[in-house]
Symmetry: C2
Subunit: 190 residues, 2 copies
């Protein structure tokens, strides 16, 4: 199976996000999502355990890309340079065709407390993944944890900017710019 299972999986995600926007998250059933995608409920459950998990679509891919980016970084790279390599690798998942998905996802999250929790947990999972990967490279735990936090904050900011339809920059540019901004801020903090 390809990384993004482009067909059924992406159709289900799009259908779900459209329905969340049209009628709210709470009023959307799995049956409705499957119907809108032109698929069966059992196909839905092949991809997702429940409707909340639609939001996690791509999360595993993102983590894999990040972990690959970190392993590929030179051994001499500083912790933040390693995080930067992770973000550049992650940028691969944010293709121009997916920009509208990002916008819909953001709208759905804004409208549902349950999705906000799911989103928060997703970010925490990524933070741990980055911190663990840095520790495996010999970075001490405090630095790894802080660098991971900064990386995920940069990712979050980049996702926010990227999902705005008026924004025409690539995800990579936005992620690196956000990271630079956070790095400058962390150095200026007293």
């Amino acid at each position: 199976m390809g990384r993004w299972e482009p067909d059924a999986r992406e159709r289900l995600v799009r259908a779900a996000l459209d329905l969340f926007a049209e009628q709210g998250y709470d009023n959307t059933t799995v049956a409705k999502i499957a119907e809108r995608a032109g698929l069966t409920k059992s196909t839905f459950f092949r991809y997702f355990p429940d409707k909340r998990e639609v939001l996690a679509a791509g999360q595993d891919t993102l983590r894999e890309l990040i972990e690959e980016g970190i392993s590929a970084a030179p051994a001499t790279a500083t912790p933040l340079a390693t995080v930067s390599a992770a973000l550049e690798a992650a940028a691969e998942a944010f293709t121009p065709e997916r920009r509208d998905l990002g916008e819909k996802m953001r709208a759905a999250i804004a409208g549902s407390k349950e999705l906000q929790e799911r989103d928060a947990l997703k970010r925490l999972g990524l933070t741990s993944a980055i911190a663990d990967a840095l520790e495996n490279r010999g970075v001490d735990e405090v630095t790894a944890s802080l660098a991971a936090d900064i990386g995920v904050l940069a990712l979050k900011r980049a996702q926010f900017y990227w999902s705005q339809s008026t924004n025409q920059k690539t995800f990579r540019e936005l992620a690196l710019r956000s990271l630079d901004e956070l790095r400058a801020t962390s150095i200026a903090l007293r």
Copy 2:
């Protein structure tokens, strides 16, 4: 009602944490928790909507203390000095009599994915509260977000050290030391 509702509420928390440790979180019912505390199920539900929320005990108090600490900080305090004031205020909640509760809570969290999620969301709630309070003081959003992150990381580390029975330092000392360590790390990050 006092801040910590010391009697029924704290008895329920202790009973729940003991049962989580003895028989696991999944196998512990609200009825058993109430019974162990010598109280009724309906008393339990006056304090907590469900057993997971036992973990959130003290969360509102902690947020209030943090917010009070931030408002009481001098207007000229830097963002991290303000966070430091917040941690000193938060330390009030971590009295010597509660040290064993911290240890039990940590054990319960380690043993249950559901409690790990609850704990993660609790920390995110505190992060937003600190970031919002800093923004209200005129700190820009990026700095506020990063300073709040560092503050909650310091709190988390202090809680970890404090809950170890071999540790005899006060929570205040542990929190300020953790914050100093994170501040030094953030300055050293490149």
